[in-house]
Amino acid sequence: MTAIRSEIRFILNGEEVRLAEVAPDETLLDYLRLRRSLTGTKEGCAEGDCGACTVLVGRLTPDGLVYESVNSCIRFLGSLDGTHVVTVEHLAPVAGRLHPVQQAMVDFHGSQCGFCTPGFVMSLYALWMQDPKPSDRRIEKALQGNLCRCTGYEAIVRAARAISSYGDANDDPLAAERAEIAGRLNAMRDGARVEIGTGSKRFFIPASVDDLADLLETEPKATIVAGATDVGLWVTKFMREIAPVVFIGHLDELRRTSEKDGVLSIGAGVSYTEAFRLLAGRVPALATLIDRIGGEQVRNMGTIGGNIANGSPIGDTPPPLIALGATLTLRKGRSRRTITLEEFFIDYGKQDRRPGEFVEAVHVPLPAAGSRFAIYKVTKRRDEDITATLGAFNLMLDASGKVEKIRIAYGGMAATPKRAHAVEAAIAGKPWTRETVDAALAEYERDFRPLTDMRASADYRMLASKNLLVRFFLETSGRAAPVQVGRYEAA
């Protein structure tokens, strides 16, 4: 029988916190601002969109203590058990000297009204600790989740480039304290399950994946929260009751990955940031896509499993995973079943997940040698924007140039991520030529009936989606240089 603990424990800046009074939907931001008067952390939206509330969360991983930026407004306090929370107050000046990140922001005029500034400082701080001499692309990635309405960003980017000229990341307090903090966090690990609250205010932090499975048998209606990038919004934006809650973000077992026979298995708790690292060398197109999901904070928090389990029609990862032929392992109690990812999405807001069941892992067949795989995401604003349409294409030609295998899936074109069966059928077995592609375009009307919303009109979606196939053809037939829709690098 697993031991039960009825408080959470974490380190806030330098201080160890033990809390027994925590609501399942209490956010870290409210805790900091309302309960602790730590008001350096700002609230700009409470919906994970602006980054004003950015703090760092350090957690022990098999590779040691890792600090990541997160949006405290949608991060639930309960999920911080066993972590080190670092707010802007922790960067207090030493002997009157500002922290290098802060001094760079002063000198490069990175603030006007200043409201976004602590959030930017924390994002830059996380970046600098990971990469003291970041490339522009790295800086851009690190700042994707922070909005500034005043400065126009340029000054902040320049500050980011200059941080290391103000100090050495190795001298940073968090680097110096690392061993000590890791020791303290380790000491907090007692292998217990945490249970707090009663009635509609309950939440749980299972001790292990087996404990999670047991727990869900007794609490089949519980809301499973991994990164909280979706569920956080259910609470702050849509005022939904989510209790009882089971937090799973801390479960290392769900963050495991393995590769066997050309199939990559990714634990449901793997964050986008971790998945990016994993995929960068194996499926570069997928890694590039992940780079454009949310901002850095959301990528640090959000999980592949969560993106799938919540079944959003505009979730960005399912279409490419469907095109790759991914499968899911669902677990309930001690039993597991495996289904294809496309089967999992039944209808809008409806997935094939039974009460008490949870997504344990997703298995992604890596593109076969000689095959071509591409993903195109179309948005209005380049980053941190919801997809208008997203197409993923997986093509294998035979020796004669005929299409041996093709899988195409789209997001944003239907109530669920959806495969383009009719289009595929029109292409399969034919020579991979412009004529084949043009003939297949007519089939889009059979596969999709997109909607008009504020992101794009139905006509635009249809036309742009067809154009994506044309673009895939041009790129794979050597008639156009690969197009990366993105930043134009000035010569």
Binding site: P93, F108, S111, G114, R149, A490
Partner: protein, 758 residues
């Protein structure tokens, strides 16, 4: 020295780092909702789900049963206690949500729930049920049931439509003409700081902490609504997390929260959600334009007609009225203008960064580009042909106008001469490249202002003025002005602002702050100098004894006349004082005799750029390069160059930052920003930062700001033209012309959407 701090050219101050930078990077700058308040209760707004009709009944039983709920205030509960809000004169709207049961717009406040905690208040607010008698709303342009009225005379701020000469006759003589319509959408300011009000009463005095661009105006407006003497009201707003006009006029919530605190006998704080701010705060009204422009083949414009339609609410006549600026922009010949208001079931719009110029100059500059194309002229040369040193409406000279200098410097830096004229003639792989340009303009307004300056014998200076640090750097430049006039280092100056108990300053709007506050600070400093100089020259002994005050100067803590110097501290000792404090009232030329008295009462007399013997405008030229993907039509702005001339630049670092931020606003306005409407329910739909797209870092590529040297002694004593609202004016039209150059598609309706380019 780095890029952010450009070397000052002539007539520019030092690019010192902002005075409050340290507080901002450490998180120590306290915005109103950050201030710890003892025993504070939390309030949450309940808003209407219908846009037009009547509230018939409110059911609050379930809400009251939530543990921790302290009070629920709804229609009828404020009768006799609160005056109705008024529109105009620092009030955003006359809609009186707790006085009337009439629903004027979606999201109108219908009740306020106050509880021990924010959670309890939210939970209870969600349980308040309201019954309505709903009517079919009119959402805006083109909806049945709208009312269209002439703007001229509908608001004191827009007495008449500017015009000159005989437009019809001139139009008939034109050799080339264009006749087109344009439109701009609803936009919301979306400053990063959420809107909030915190009110606390002590002994009959109320203090309101709320981010404000007008603490003195609000103090008076709030006093009237609360039915107390203004002496008992204090509005405090030390740091403001972005404003852009949204915190200029006071909204009805402020008095409601102050009243709730009075009723409850305990402080109340209300932080409004981003969604609710869309309907309980103000916004930029959507506009439509019809422009006719006639020119001769040599490029001279002979006839210009600009007609505008602007959305407003049913009860309030908010007028944008940008024809005042567009009618004076070029040497047109005959001019005719007309503005109409379109009244619909919407909340009342108001000022948003360059309120008239953003939509109206967008339309004009688009038309200018279209005309240049029709004339087969280079767009820059076309503007040069029509540049003028005298405005066409009253024939008054411009106090200074460096428009073409801006064009030349920006064109050079941008590489405009590399542009090839043909549509789609410039490519980079699969990207179509387009280049465009447009004029930026903003009137130089100035307003009465007061300031108090104290110099102590140890050389420290304190400046006090009830202006507002909304991010512009006003604290910094006020400190620079005092340091310069009193010959002291910048770091020795401390600046207090954002409090209605300080000497009053005007609303921080209309780009008046630097000119007005610096003029008042300068005047107070000059009075201190006069006293010091007087003491130095009238002394029986001492190095400066017997000299004329006019021969003295002040630098590095010393009074100087050639080689003869005396330390300021000595002169003060001679005067037998440890400090000198001077209070000054600055009233711009042409102000009424009551201008200062009215300022104290919260009635602002702003002197507009068009008033007076000379017309006062700041100008700029903006160049844009866009890249549009051949297949998907995704549009990215790859380069921006802007050159701006705005009289004396107090601080090139803060000035550049304002202009750069403004240009990026312009990019957002061109490509992304629009509050979408469900026309059937007259409800905004994209009410968050996920779907209301403001520019993000990755949208911004290569931006260059050039500060053009300009000296103008006519504008105001400080010689300053405001520039906080200049940078965003030209960008949208420049983007639209670049898009045309790349694709041949002339997009006349903002924002430019990918589907428009298919």
């Amino acid at each position: 020295m780095n890029e952010a701090a450009p070397l000052p050219k002539g007539n520019m101050g030092e690019p010192v780092a902002r005075i409050d930078a340290r507080l901002k990077v450490t998180g120590d700058a306290r915005y109103p909702a950050d201030l710890p308040v003892r025993d504070v209760a939390h309030a949450v707004l309940v808003t209407s789900p219908i846009a037009r009709g009547r509230l018939t009944q409110l059911h609050t039983e379930a809400a009251r049963a939530v543990p921790g709920v302290l009070d629920i205030i709804a229609a009828g509960d404020v009768d006799g206690e609160l005056e109705r809000p008024q529109f105009g004169n620092s009030g955003s709207t006359s809609i009186a949500p707790l006085h009337d049961r009439r629903i004027w717009h979606d999201g109108q406040i219908v009740a306020l729930v106050v509880a021990e905690t924010f959670e309890a208040a939210s939970e209870a607010a969600a349980l308040v049920r309201a019954d309505f008698q709903a009517e079919e709303p009119s959402s805006g342009f083109g909806s049945p049931g709208i009312e269209i009225i002439p703007a001229a005379g509908a608001s004191p701020l827009y007495p008449e439509n500017p015009e000159a000469g005989d437009f019809d006759a001139a139009w008939a003589t034109a050799e080339i003409s264009i006749d087109e319509t344009y439109s701009t959408p609803t936009q919301h300011h979306n400053p990063m700081e959420l809107f909030s009000t915190t009110a606390s009463w002590f002994d009959g005095d109320v203090t309101v902490n709320e981010s404000s661009q007008n603490v003195t105006g609000w103090k008076n407006t709030l006093a009237r609504q609360l039915k107390v003497d203004p002496e008992h009201v204090r509005v405090v707003s030390p740091y403001v997390g972005g404003a852009f006009g949204s915190r200029g006029p006071m909204t009805p919530r402020t008095a409601i929260i102050a009243h709730a605190a009075r009723r409850l006998g305990r402080p109340v704080r209300c932080v409004v959600t981003r969604k609710q701010a869309y309907t309980t705060q103000t916004y930029r009204a959507e506009t439509r334009h019809h422009i006719r422009m006639g020119a001769m083949k040599d490029g001279r414009i002979v006839a210009f007609r600009h007609e505008g339609w602007e959305l407003t609410s049913r009860p309030d006549n908010y007028v944008v009225g940008g024809t005042g600026t567009t009618a004076r922009m070029y040497g047109y010949g005959a001019v005719e203008t007309k503005v109409s208001l379109v009244k619909a079931d919407r909340n009342t719009p108001s000022y948003m960064r360059s309120p008239p110029e953003t939509p109206y100059v967008y339309a004009l500059e688009n038309a200018m580009d279209e005309m240049a194309v029709a004339l087969a002229m280079d767009p820059v040369e076309f503007r040069r042909v029509n540049d003028t040193m005298t405005e066409p409406i009253e024939g008054k000279p411009f106090s200074s106008r460096s428009l073409m200098e801006c064009y030349d410097q920006a064109a050079e830096a941008f590489g405009w001469n590399r542009r090839t004229r043909g549509i789609g003639s410039m490519r980079d792989g699969d990207w179509l490249v387009g280049m465009g340009c447009a004029t930026a303009v903003y009137p130089t307004n100035v307003a009465p202002c007061t300031a108090r300056v104290r110099l102590t014998a140890d050389g420290r200076i304190r400046v006090q003025s009830g202006s507002h640090e909304i991010g512009t750097g006003i604290r910094t430049v006020a400190a620079q002005m005092a340091a310069e006039r009193l010959g002291a280092p910048f770091w020795s100056v401390e600046v207090e602002m954002g409090d209605s108990s300080l000497p009053p300053a005007p609303v921080s709007g209309g780009s008046t702050s630097t000119a007005s506050v610096c003029s008042a600070v300068m005047k107070a400093c000059d009075a201190i100098r006069a006293r010091l100089f007087h003491a130095a020259v009238t002394a029986n002994d001492g190095p400066l004894s017997g000299l004329a005050p006019a021969d003295l100067g002040i630098a590095d803590g010393r009074i100087v006349a050639g080689a003869r110097v005396e330390a300021v501290a000595n002169a003060m000792e001679r005067m037998g004082v440890g400090e000198i404090e001077e209070y000054a009232e600055f009233a711009p030329e042409g102000s009424s005799a009551d201008a200062i008295a009215n300022l104290y009462k919260g009635k602002l007399e702003m002197r507009m750029g068009e008033e007076g013997a000379k017309v006062k405008y700041a100008f700029g030229a903006e160049f844009v390069e866009v890249r549009i993907h051949r297949l998907t039509r995704e549009t990215r702005v790859s380069r921006l160059v802007g050159a701006f001339a705005a009289g004396r630049i107090m601080n090139p670092r803060t000035a550049r930052s304002q202009l750069m931020g403004g240009m990026i606003w312009g990019v957002g306005c061109a490509l992304h920003e629009a509050t979408e409407m469900d026309r059937h329910s007259a409800r905004y739909v994209n009410t968050d930062l996920q779907d209301y797209l403001v520019p993000v870092n990755a949208d911004i590529q290569d931006v260059k700001v050039i500060l053009v040297e300009e000296k103008d002694t006519d504008v105001n004593p400080a010689g300053v033209k405001g520039l906080g609202e200049l940078g965003n004016v030209g960008t949208p039209a420049a983007v639209a012309s670049a898009v045309y150059h790349a694709t041949g598609k002339r997009i006349r309706d903002l924002p430019i959407r990918i589907e428009d380019l298919l």
